[in-house]
Symmetry: C2
Subunit: 325 residues, 2 copies
Amino acid sequence: MNLLFTSSGRRTQLIKYFKQELGNEGRIIVADYNSTAPTLYIADKGYIVSSIDNSNYLNEIKEICTKEDITGIIATIDPELSLLAKEKEEFNNLGVQVIISDYDIVEMCFDKYSMFEFLKNNGFNTPKTYANLDDFTKALYRNKIDFPVFVKPRKGSSSIGINKVSTLEELKILMKYNTDLIVQQYMQGQEYGVDLYVDIISKDVISIFLKKKLSMRGGETDKAVSVKNDKLFNMILDFIKKLKVVGPVDIDVFEIDGEFYISEVNPRFGGGYLIAYECGENFPKYILNNLKGIINTSHIGKYEEDIYMMRHDIVTIKKRCELLQ
Amino acid sequence: MNLLFTSSGRRTQLIKYFKQELGNEGRIIVADYNSTAPTLYIADKGYIVSSIDNSNYLNEIKEICTKEDITGIIATIDPELSLLAKEKEEFNNLGVQVIISDYDIVEMCFDKYSMFEFLKNNGFNTPKTYANLDDFTKALYRNKIDFPVFVKPRKGSSSIGINKVSTLEELKILMKYNTDLIVQQYMQGQEYGVDLYVDIISKDVISIFLKKKLSMRGGETDKAVSVKNDKLFNMILDFIKKLKVVGPVDIDVFEIDGEFYISEVNPRFGGGYLIAYECGENFPKYILNNLKGIINTSHIGKYEEDIYMMRHDIVTIKKRCELLQ
């Protein structure tokens, strides 16, 4: 059984976990448009492909699937999820399972305002969010929101383009010169990262891993510690009954005065998933099981608390002539 | 011979290079205020100390020096350089050499406007820089500068607080709500990182390593390729005749239409030094030589071109009970 990771980038540690889990059962293939993506040199085989906005991109991925006898595709960056989710059936016809939630769900998760509405309509706590300056100003005058606020792209990844804004004057300028921004309540509280796995066959949540975020770097969790919390476990279980995601999902949550607020949902491996694996929440194994037709059994809350993760850098060095073309 | 790294943080790869170079000749000791600094678990011994703005901090460092029989101290974060540079003599009296340039030089490097004036007065190309809104506005009306511009803290590290600004309206707001900002010409060109070593005994530049920056992450060079350029080598040699730095230095340079502009000078190991080491520019060895009283001989331009560096993450995992106290 061979797996393909698209836009694999710098996720070398995730690739290593999959290689470890797969053992001699198959090969890990990766594709990236950039010849300096370090995963290209760690996988069993790396392919340089076009950028995801190139019209030939999907054909190139399909060609790799056929050539390498791929069973499952895993995508790790937000802009690619919708692209592949839309083509699920076509990949299925090639005998390839795309490990991504359905297109409509992926699109909603990527659109922060749509997700806010979904959360609100289903009764979940979430930071107050405004799609435009008018709506925000009205709420401000009715004392429903106050500064500081976060201004961020309605559709955006990691921490790109996120600003903390303290005055209406600043906010007006920012919204004037940048389109498609949303205004969000500034959450001052403990941030949690939730890594969960929804079985692709049974659609049941079989793993929920909670980590307190201790520090961030480039929009990703740099340091974290494993924790357990029944209230949050139950909230996530309720939430996933409403949101029909499958596979690995990453959710950001704030805790303020004992209440949990869901702030973001990414239907893919989170950058901070590494600690969950190290604590025994083995999503690579769950994926391999699902691809073999095996239903995973629930494993919720079985990990150890008080395990600390610290990320740091290593380097891969290559001569120009050793780079993939 | 034992070395102490202060505020060692996440520089695990640098620590590993020093351990490799030192071999059985001595031990690498590190100190950090944060028990989740990954270097604490990679060095021969790690100490948890107070934060650098605590009045007892220097005493704690001195105690470690005595207890561990330290020969040399290496600091890797900007705010600490001045602190230790000021105490050089006192450390010398304890038999400890602080591998940092003199206090005045360090202070000037950390103050982006002072460095701009120094560069301009000595005839080096550098981005146009304005210490306040008035000076900038005057220059704008005389057509000496145009938007976009960079707004950044006069004294600041990495990319914290740096904004690209496209209109006077935005700029006025930003400068109104934030003190101590400077306005800098937006440089659109190829960025280079220069890692150089000035022999602490002879004061001669003995190594200059040039890398083209290919991508950045969290204000540090994430991907780079080694290059050589005689014009830039000579410019750096001229510059260091004027600026009396010693030890490892990291300089940021832009190339626009074949001209080089010095934009920043950090009198310490740069975050992207790793590629220089991998290409044979062995600063750990130069430091050990200097500490032994050996003068290093020039090694300029002896490295290989077209070597690519790609950084990526690994994780260190510890139980709470395994964390240093």
